[in-house]
């Protein structure tokens, strides 16, 4: 999300330029799994009926878990209703753009993100 626009479930980007430098942003775009942001654990919940919900863990305690899926939808489960909660500690829903962006496109994207300093 940038200034209230966009969708998804990653970190807020409106002021990302004040929090991360260009090198970090470049690596996060190319190899996101190497720079997993804190507080955005990717999980898969499997219900007793076999349904699967995958998304970012928004909150968790000893009895319940809340998950936000890629469409921004919130799901709340009692753990007792789940067959399994898989914590995908080395995975991220963000695709790796290594090899799919040209050097110029990557430079433009990094420059744009680095320019985001707060309210637009």
């Amino acid at each position: 999300m940038v200034a209230g626009k966009g969708a998804g479930y990653g970190p807020e980007l409106t002021d990302i330029g004040t929090r991360r430098n260009g090198a970090h942003l470049r690596q996060a775009i190319l190899k996101p799994a190497t720079l997993l942001p804190e507080g955005f654990l990717y999980v898969t919940a499997v219900t007793q009926a076999g349904a699967t919900v995958r998304g970012i863990r928004v909150n968790e305690d000893s009895f319940n878990i809340q998950i936000k899926d890629s469409g921004g939808q919130f799901h709340s489960f009692a753990k007792s209703e789940l067959k399994e909660v898989r914590r995908l500690r080395s995975e991220t829903p963000m695709p790796a753009y290594e090899g799919s962006l040209s050097a110029a496109e990557l430079d433009d994207l990094v420059a744009y993100l680095a320019s985001l300093k707060g309210k637009l």
Partner: protein, 526 residues
Amino acid sequence: MKWSAWLVAVAAFAQVPYDRIVNAQNEPGNWITYSGNYSGHRFSPLTQITPANVAGMHVKWAHQFESGRTETSPIVVDGVMYITAPNSASALDARTGRELWKWTRPIPKDYQSIGFGRVNRGPAILDNQLFVATLDCYLVALDLKSGAERWSTKVEDYKPGYSMTLAPLAIKGKVLIGVSGGEAGIRGFVDAYNAASGKRSWRFWTVPAPGEPGYQTWPQDSKFKDAWKTGGGSTWVTGSYDPELNLVYWGIGNPGPDWNADSRPGDNLYTCSLVALDGDTGALKWHFQFTPHDTHDWDSTHVPVLFEGEVRGVKRKLVAVANRNAFFYVLDRSSGEFIAGRAYAKQTWAKGLDDRGRPMVLPGTEPSADGTIAWPNLNGATVWFSPSYSPKTGLFYVSVREIGSIYYKREADYKPGTFFAGGGEAGIPNSEKSGAIRALEVSTGKLRWEFPLHSASWSGVLSTGGGLVFSGSDEGNFFALDAMTGKPLWDFQTGGAIASNPISFTVDGKQCVAIAADRVLYVFSL
């Protein structure tokens, strides 16, 4: 009856005489002392709420405090609940939570809590008075009916670092307190005060002075000869009491400075010990030191759990302690003899306990300039919040913290009223942290079951005659487990981290359970 005679009769009638507290098990509808009984059980004999019906429990009422992280453990007597907050106490209608009276004492502007939070863990009750320990180190007696201050006694000067956060312990004619300040270079003590007058009856210093028994465990040479004066040994958690033996059991805190022990070679008695004191005189009957020469801030300030058990076929009076150092101990409470012990949580500092219960410390586990990794962390495998013992299941329930730490050693210069710890700790990067409620066999410490928690908790545990175990979590869950199996049966999201001890009582014949969560006290019933 003439008015004068009526007044005399009223004065002579004590609402909560000592005998009521001794026989607390005879009135399970009340919660009459900090741990529910003198034995430190935090067990309610009430049986209305059971594994079969606990799912129907709901909020009966709530009370909001003025500030957060409320650690109070209420007293409930005859339809009135008594609660505390830092330098304040209130009486609430136990049926509705509406306030009946409130007492406050201003906290001095120059008061500072050195090494702990501004909290209060509850009151004590005896005869017609409620007793409250204050942050600025006064013991205050309040009239039960009005909250009017009957007396206040200065326990110590708060400016060098003394403070009080604990619930007092009222025994026959006396009120006992302990002090915080182990990170400020205090010399700790347990005090008893005359409940009627507020005059001090006795003091037990937890760090012996030259010439006193135990002083030989402190340095004698001229360079460090004054180490005992700043030796710590705080006493900030309420003890237990055996009326038959007239012995008070009190846990003693860490030696000071905490993480730099260069100035205090030796075992440093009576720090990190359990002491048994004569209730009339404060004389030391016996001591048992859990962590000699502690260098990790592992206070032994826990509620001691008194129980009767068989040892090699002979029935004996025993005491159990789940210690901050990650070992569980069973001692003979008449003599202090070590009976049994074992680790109940992850620990990396000792090979085990020898046949007298002394830890066999592993080399290289002390704090260092570059940092030394050890389990548990400074808050220990458990800490001040209460365990529970159910005589019905024979199980000891404890909230366990599984966190390691990097311990650092730094210089320690004593200046009154400042932090005197000689180091600190830091988290271990990428290290798992967790918590659990564990049920241990009380006579051995052997694990019977555990309920894993999402994170390490600061909540105490309550067990009940109905077969339940109640506790709380850092994420705000207040929950009930099956006392025999640990199976989760009910939980409620309180909205605030729980750092307090649950209790149970009755209102209009209905069993209630109470817990404080951050700034709200909740009372639940079916």
